[in-house]
Symmetry: C2
Subunit: 593 residues, 2 copies
């Protein structure tokens, strides 16, 4: 079957729930009326369905080929990439100063979800390119910006992020790649980087690597790391391409999934690089890209889940097997389609409730990325707080759930799903990486409880709790959406209890915070999606109350009911688990494992 | 790293917890003193570690090759299979009348776990062979038994089960393969079977297929299905091999995992077959093999989890990354091993608690397989009841948890786990099939709530509840194991409440039973493992109280504490979910998915 871009869902969220026309005084929104955005969604959906989705399976089956440093993408990928660049999609939300269209982030996020749903591995090429764009845009000198941003904005050139080395993944303080000043303002970069997504390919004439390295004599640890821009091909002052730089792809990683993306070992040998931002401030600069990438990873995990769900629905409607427990529903056929069975519906609704709730959560968060630039400081501060607070939840909760949905999708297929004849296996394998890269989900949980909760005296979480409380107060007498409002009140109360527990016990012993972190993040995710579903339920109910006969709205409420009834009970389990503390984890001697 | 057979765990379970020496009056146990069994475990563990485990990766990487109907296994597999046959492992628990060693099922199950942990795909060759042995042993005429059983018992010949056809997996009533009497007592079998594990290979001189087919003129549906034995090579009356029969492997399935096992499309064209059991009673006969296979699948899923856990522990002890939240634990090194981090320990302990609890559950169930043959009818009846009741729980809960553990194992590895350089990916991919084959886990849940609970007026579940109640009553004043006893009482109360809910609501509307089935099975699994952990805690505490200084027992209690504190809270969530009923699932129109 074909991937179907969820244009309708995004339109509902952007118009009925978030009502983006309200924000015309926020930068980027003046030219982004919903009417225009709606056309962008339609066109983006069409492009994802017609150009990207058809090449996804070939990526899995053929992968990338390495030959003496030259990497060739899967059949059809170069052409699709060029079509994407020509259509202007990579520049949708980039800075007009560098050739971008300046659309709000929330719009680009919706389009990005469709790209990732059509092909997750493919979406990593423009995704990493955009990350490099952001890293340079936020940190680099004007000269570097002028030199690289226009072609990164359009994705005429690719971009990458080079952090990991064999001895350091999570712990970037261990980086050994070194940078020696050349005396002309450039540095000679030498070292080995691994797991570099999109590190080398044949889609673009140049690839701009952002590389973390240690300047000779810099302090030990994370305080001695600097960020450099290292082009694959040196760029002359007139913008033309010059000599090949001293960077090579030494090999490709063999991975469980995302075969269409080239995961490269990159070797830098006296490659010329230029400092991005200040000396020894590389980690801070890189975090701009990492936050970007973390939201993108959450989006990707969920988007794979969306595609996996669609395939499972198609299979469940087609596959005839067994009879309904309440009597034949397809009496003329040899059996009923398996979608008649309650347990098959349970799997599909679990997927649907997570996917649609997750889509809302992604766009809600992306809207706050835009609102960071609002003129009123209160709005801007709240948006910055939310972005910091919600990024690890978006990344970890939505990738965990995306993988869960992909696994449900396979289960609906039965044995067929385990064969490579169907797409279910690719979705499961592709989705699994999203729980790991851009900071494992355990690292996200530590970031949430160790940094984000406490920042500014807990201002972000208190502000978010206040928003939920206000929603509950405002809507608690609305009988039509009472279960949704109750779910927000109830999950929020549990998350608040968990937060208090963390404050009391994490201070006493930091291991308590570490021990509670994953369950806390999961509880946060359940609470956030309860709120997302309540926002959607309110909007859908408003349409119904206004007499809109489209069954879309009643079905939205029905899907949300699944979330309330069948997913929110996990909140209690997470709360109970996290309150057991660190002792049960830390008492076991390492040799007893 | 190398797979380490959990010999010590099995010895603890068989001696300290189950005390198998108690059963010397039960068939098979007279010659199975624990002293002898302990040697068997040692030797079985050695064989798994030294002969089977080393070929596991090659199976994943090379898979099986098909060439014009001839299937060749991965490098080294034929040799390992022959070594296994020569060492006599397949005949460990088979009937001495056919050359078997007649050991209890519980002993063979422990050894089988080690084989499957060393290589799940490999274990399917002897596993399916044993299934065919069981199917013939339980149902066939003496002539057929004499002809096939000795060589199936030893695994000099392979065996298979042929159920699935393209149009029928779960719904065997749709089978089309036909059988036409030849007039000489044999039948001409024609049709296509798919997904036949171990269907063709180069390990043995003959392969004995058990095939479900429809005799010409038989009734429609499951009441017209018969079971046939169809050898790949016809067997002469003197036992020598004759002509090739009309059965061919038409191709291999490309699968996400278990690449070392040949998953075959089998084409039967007037193949000669002989009826096993009565005409049109094939499904009942096949169920003997299917129950066998279901326990074996639960065992396999858990065994893969065991191996995945071991690899994760090794990685977590070796990988240096970051510092402990409470100060450096490896101050002389560049970083601490990641096993110092609470969230890494959470993942490892979750895995360990599930694996060790699951091992106990497998052996507890297998012991009841043996006790079915006890002389006292009360013991035998209870054992038969338990086997029927627990088989779907063992199959579904332990394979779900096995996959979960394999996924945790990958997560502990971080990015390394996603590359095919480590074994984590193979374990994840291999484990996933166990949730699907031999009846999807959804089918197991329906079997549990739809058939097993209600059989004989609910005798089995009431008997099992009585056992748990008796345990609680007997041990509730034992302060040393109080948390374990409380967990049994608490989870059992929830399972009982769920059972009452099912009785009341499933009768009114069968969709309520279907809607509750998976959460009911999961709740059953949590309850069963709570009980298993309580049994192990009691045995470990008895050793400690008797002054045994081995830290194994204290560590066992510590692992069990994790289960009580961090896994039993799921029981509440499952209960809350299942009580929401079918309406939320069934109200959604199919076209709205």
């Amino acid at each position: 079957m074909a991937y179907k871009a969820p244009v309708r869902d995004f339109a509902f969220i952007l118009k009925d729930v978030l009502d983006i026309d309200r924000y015309s005084n926020v930068p980027g929104f003046a030219d982004a009326s919903f009417d225009l955005v709606s056309q962008i969604l339609e066109e983006g959906g069409k492009f994802a369905e017609e150009v990207i989705a058809p090449i996804n399976r070939a990526g899995d089956q053929h992968g990338c080929k390495w030959d003496n440093g030259v990497v060739t993408g899967p059949p059809g990928w170069k052409e699709a990439f060029k079509a994407m660049v020509e259509a202007g999609w990579p520049a949708l939300s980039t800075d007009p100063e560098y050739g971008g269209q300046g659309m709000p982030r929330v719009v680009a996020t919706a389009v990005g979800q469709m790209t990732a749903g059509a092909s997750a591995a493919f979406s990593m090429y423009p995704g990493l390119t955009h990350g490099a764009y952001e890293g340079i845009h936020a940190n680099a000198s004007q000269e570097i910006k002028d030199r690289y941003l226009p072609k990164l904005s359009s994705a005429e050139w690719g971009g990458t992020m080079n952090l990991t080395e064999p001895q350091c993944g999570t712990d970037l303080g261990l980086i050994r790649t070194k940078a020696v000043p050349n005396g002309d303002g450039s540095y000679a970069i030498s070292g080995q980087k691994i797991w570099i997504s999109s590190g080398e390919h044949d889609f673009t004439d140049n690839i701009i690597h952002l590389v973390l390295a240690r300047i000779e004599g810099a302090p030990e640890g994370v305080k001695g790391i600097s960020l450099f821009v290292v082009p694959k091909v040196l760029v002359n002052d007139d913008g033309s391409l010059g000599e090949r730089n001293g960077v090579q792809c030494a090999g490709l990683e063999h991975k469980m999934g995302i075969h269409g993306n080239s995961t490269c070992v990159m070797v830098y040998e006296n490659a010329r690089g230029w400092l991005v931002g200040e000396e020894n401030a590389g980690l801070k600069a890189m975090f701009v890209m990492m936050n970007e990438a973390r939201l993108g990873t959450g989006l990707q995990g969920l988007a794979i889940g969306t595609a996996a769900y669609q395939h499972a629905v198609e299979f469940a409607k087609d596959r005839l097997q067994g009879r309904s427990l309440t009597g034949p529903k397809n009496p003329g056929g040899p059996a009923d389609p398996i979608i008649v069975h309650p347990d098959v519906r349970r799997m599909l609704l679990e997927a649907k409730a997570l996917v649609e709730g997750g889509q809302m959560f992604i766009l809600y968060t992306a809207l706050h990325a835009d609102l960071q630039y609002a003129q009123e400081e209160a709005t801007s501060q709240k948006a910055r707080d939310y972005m910091a607070l919600l990024t690890p939840v978006v990344k970890a909760y939505l990738t965990d759930r995306g993988f869960h949905v992909a696994s449900l999708g396979m289960q609906v297929h039965g044995g067929s799903g385990y064969t490579e004849h169907y797409a279910a296996s690719q979705y499961l394998r592709d989705a699994r990486i999203t729980m790991i890269y851009e900071g494992t989900n355990g690292i996200q949980a530590l970031d949430l409880v160790g940094r984000k909760l406490a920042a500014n005296g807990g201002r972000a979480i208190m502000s978010w709790f206040a928003e939920l409380d206000a929603f509950v107060a405002e809507n608690q007498s609305d009988a039509a959406i009472k279960p949704f409002v109750d779910a927000v009140a109830s999950t929020k109360a549990k998350l608040q209890e968990a937060t208090m527990w963390l404050m009391q016990n994490g201070m006493q012993n930091p291991d308590n915070a570490g021990a509670a972190s994953t369950d806390y993040l999961q509880l946060f995710g359940v609470t956030a999606l309860s709120y997302m579903w309540a926002l959607m339920a309110k909007a859908a109910q408003a349409r119904i109350s206004a007499g809109d006969p489209d069954p879309y709205y009643a079905n939205k409420l029905q899907t949300g009911r699944y979330f309330v009834e069948r997913i929110t009970p996990d909140a209690d389990a997470h709360l109970a688990k996290l309150k057991t503390g660190a002792e049960v984890l830390m008492a076991m001697p390492a040799e007893a494992f």
